[in-house]
Symmetry: C2
Subunit: 206 residues, 2 copies
Amino acid sequence: MPKRVDHEERRAQIAEALIRVAGRRGLHAVGMRDVAAEAGVSLRLVQYYFETKEKLLFYGLQHLTARFTARVGARLAAAGPDPGPRATVEALLLASLPTDEEGRTFHLLYSSYAILSVTDGALAAQPFIDNPDAAENALTGLLETARNAGLADPSVAPRTEAVSLLAMAAAMGTSILVGQRTPESAIAVLHHHLNRIFTPTPTKPQ
Amino acid sequence: MPKRVDHEERRAQIAEALIRVAGRRGLHAVGMRDVAAEAGVSLRLVQYYFETKEKLLFYGLQHLTARFTARVGARLAAAGPDPGPRATVEALLLASLPTDEEGRTFHLLYSSYAILSVTDGALAAQPFIDNPDAAENALTGLLETARNAGLADPSVAPRTEAVSLLAMAAAMGTSILVGQRTPESAIAVLHHHLNRIFTPTPTKPQ
DNA sequence: TTTTTCGTGATACGACCGTACCATGATGTT
DNA sequence: AACATCATGGTACGGTCGTATCACGAAAAA
């Protein structure tokens, strides 16, 4: 047998090319030839590793969420070891804002996929219910933990606030994308609500 | 000169056809032939009244926002004459949720246009800054009025809360669209925040 | 009544898209 | 050494898309 290339790695390379070019020109405008050119391979290769465009797009979505998960993890790690619930929540929310080029691409493409999935049934399979639900559950758990630990107002409704925070981050992310809002103002709004939810940390009375 | 047709009316008819078919199959999937068929006219006619597809899309966006404004106005009118600030805010927010077919189309298409405008510069001209800003200003004004009238907690930050409410409505609207959330749960979250912002009306002690 | 101009139709053109087909090195296996 | 098979390139095909072109009836203006 011949060269025996790692198919999964190749697919990842091509998927990243897809993400790059889609982040530049929009998901709707990207064709298989564009992806091939961006990845530096022939059109045939893209066809070889993903038989159809639909499969390429689907794999691209999976790759996108994987990379986003990694991004969130990195932000959490950067928040230091064993960060408090508030720092964790903050890292989670800020990671989803398009404050840098990577975040911009993530937000743009994830929104594009979401809108696409509304009308193009095949995309609507699962990932658009699973991932947001996971984030919502994680955030809810964090708020519950904080409340039980006395770090948050006892009257907060964890799930409702979790949903609210995620929704605000998502929509303000789009506002940033279209140039209506600055990242700073979005962060300020989020901080406002975090200050409302979390009681001032009683660690070190100054 | 010949038949002298009202161009503006024709354009509106075609634009509504565009909105209908785009609401069904997605904005990215709609072609000029689809619009022509939906409007019951020939392809040539669509070309005649909108020379290019870009102009058709642009006019479609204008028409969409006009119809949405009318929808909000109708909701406000339905809230009775001289409704209080809270009822007005509620009507505004609920009108933007995709709870019926019309709202679904509005939300889907407006989101599509927004995402499109990120990469397709020509669309990014103005309307995506102006309209959201107007809504934000209107809501801010209502919250200020309520606060000054003693209907809202004096500690509320009108602009921040306005931004928050609009963002939550927008993002939860998308959640409804993709089937992740029910309209009822979205409305419940909004009510939660309205209850937080507005003090119980002291009109009629029961 | 002639003429000009508007509204409308049918159709053609060039470009691009996703996909399919054919060919050919390279590399393991026998 | 011969062969089977994987990886890759080149290219062609059918379809669709936005746009342009040609043609014609109808009605207001002369």
